[in-house]
Amino acid sequence: MKKRNYTLIFILMILVLMGLALASLAMGSADISPGEIISSLTSSEDDYYSKILITIRMPRILAAIILGGALAVSGFLLQIFFGNPIAGPYVLGISSGAKLFVALLMVFLLGKGIYINSLGMVFAAFLGSLLAMGAVLLMSQKVRNMSLLIVCGVMIGYICSAITEFVVTFAEDSNIVNLHNWSLGSFSGISSGQVMFSFVLVTITVIVSFFMSKPIGAYQLGEAYARNMGVNVKVLRGILILLSSLLSATVTAFAGPISFVGIAVPHIMRSLFKTAKPIVMIPACFIGGGIITLACDDVARTAFAPTEMSISAVTALFLAPVVIYLLIKRKEMQRG
């Protein structure tokens, strides 16, 4: 595909994202029309609507975009790492590892009445991600078959989730209610501070990933050829693990585990752009992840309003079929 076409798709995607963000501002239990949005955002008065928009809806929309984008890029990097389009932070149990560590830290510190800041949460999640990733890597040395490895990842996810459930159930604190919502995956109640923090962290990580496009592209031809092109494969593998874990850890720290965005979005983007080149895919996954996650979050909060669904329930409903399709297509290719 020509460069011009890439640019065109990017422009369209950005327009869709902006349109969706504006529409999302209008959606919700309090009915606010587009006209009212503009007037309350432009006026300096601190009215009821602007309060809802600025303190509740805006951070949530931004969080869905930033963290959804982060998740998709994390998935793309993992897919490069494993040389397989069915890898992602959720199915490999990496999100659940992060969830477990955040839950442990929260329960432990809340029990002592200590407030945890964003940095602490992300750090705990990052540690959990790395540990789960370590377990997956250990297994990947024994299990060469990717489908089996994913089953192992799902099992790691179950184990981590089970321990998290124990911790949450037996912890005595009123804040646990919050923890319970979070452990299912939700953008609700995210603060502007947390949004700002994740914006900075995710932006830096995605930009670093973008500038790694060249060696990542070489790695797509396999380890041997990458090395022959002059890539330090060991260093690259380490960087891929760190970047993807940091991205999925940031997401889990603030929104809990979100299913299937990491696998499905890179696949959708590859089909849309008809390329797997990292220099196109990294920005594409980020914007595409933002669009899809925001759309899913809109469904989560408005479909049965005022009752909210967990974001993972919605993403699973829409994106798990994409994963099933990928598994079947892969099997067919192996036979063919």
Binding site: F211, S213, K214, G217, L221, A224, N228, G230, I279
Partner: protein, 262 residues
């Protein structure tokens, strides 16, 4: 003449050596064929030269420079390779695959400049793969794929090319075409080639020298006529006494005919 690549008492293997005391050197424009039975360590030797495996012992010199002291980037500008393992790139055209050969020469983001694109097209033209230029690499035939991989190796502008059984999986016409191509490229561009090959009948026609490894750490180096003898074949391939002579007689007659085709 200067030695492009020189192996000095090289021992290679995973834990224990498979091939020991391997010494030979290749000049620009020369082709060395690496032969031996399955599992004798041909691929292991080639993987060690391309630094995918660590050496157990010995030294490799590239234009008199110790390879272990060279950076990944500087090696990439000198050595290119075609491996036996098939690659499964996703959504990459043959042009994209060949273009990865420009990696050592492009900037931080790996974007191709006009001269890089020209070099890619030139390499594709050299191997005669224009027809598949825009085709998906995973959807072309094995023979075309090997040509594209060879174009990729050429595009890297190497002084040394390492080819691991480049003719495997190909039908006879593709084998002949590919070998003719390798020979022509090596002579025209002064590239030192080390290639492993199973088909002994092609060796005299393509190789200047032969390196035979037997899996018991024995190594023979010499011209095709010196190495491909009945006695050596019996030793190398554990053949029954007397059968080596018959094999070599047939091989040599066949290879004389082939020489005009390559």
């Amino acid at each position: 003449m200067d030695k492009k690549i020189k192996l000095e008492e090289l021992s290679v293997g995973y834990d224990t050596p498979v091939v020991s005391n391997l010494s030979f050197s290749v000049e620009p424009g020369e082709i060395y064929a690496l032969i031996g039975p399955n599992g004798a360590g041909k691929s292991t030797v080639l993987k060690t030269i391309t630094r995918q495996l660590n050496r157990i012992n010995g030294k490799i010199y590239i234009s008199n420079e110790d390879e272990s002291q060279m950076s990944e980037e500087s090696i990439a500008k000198v050595i290119s390779m075609v491996m036996t393992e098939r690659i499964h790139p996703e959504l990459m055209t043959c042009f994209d695959i060949v273009a990865t050969g420009r990696y050592p020469y492009t900037g931080a983001l790996g974007l191709l400049k006009e001269e890089d694109k020209a070099k890619v097209l030139e390499s594709i033209h050299l191997v005669g793969a224009e027809a598949v230029l825009d085709k998906d690499f995973s959807k072309i035939s094995d023979g075309q794929r090997q040509r594209v991989m060879l174009a990729r190796a050429i595009c890297q502008e190497p002084e040394i090319m390492i080819l691991d059984e480049p003719t495997s999986f190909l039908d006879v016409q593709y084998k002949l075409d590919l070998l003719a191509l390798i020979k022509r490229l090596s002579k025209e561009r002064n590239i030192a080639v080390i290639m492993s090959i199973h088909e002994l009948e092609f060796v005299p026609a393509i190789a200047d020298k032969v390196v035979a490894v037997d899996g018991n750490r024995q190594v023979f180096v010499g011209t095709p006529d010196e190495i491909i003898t009945g006695e050596n074949m019996e030793k190398l391939y554990h053949m029954k006494p007397g059968t080596g002579e018959i094999l070599v007689e047939g091989l040599m007659a066949y290879s004389k005919n082939i020489e005009s085709l390559i």
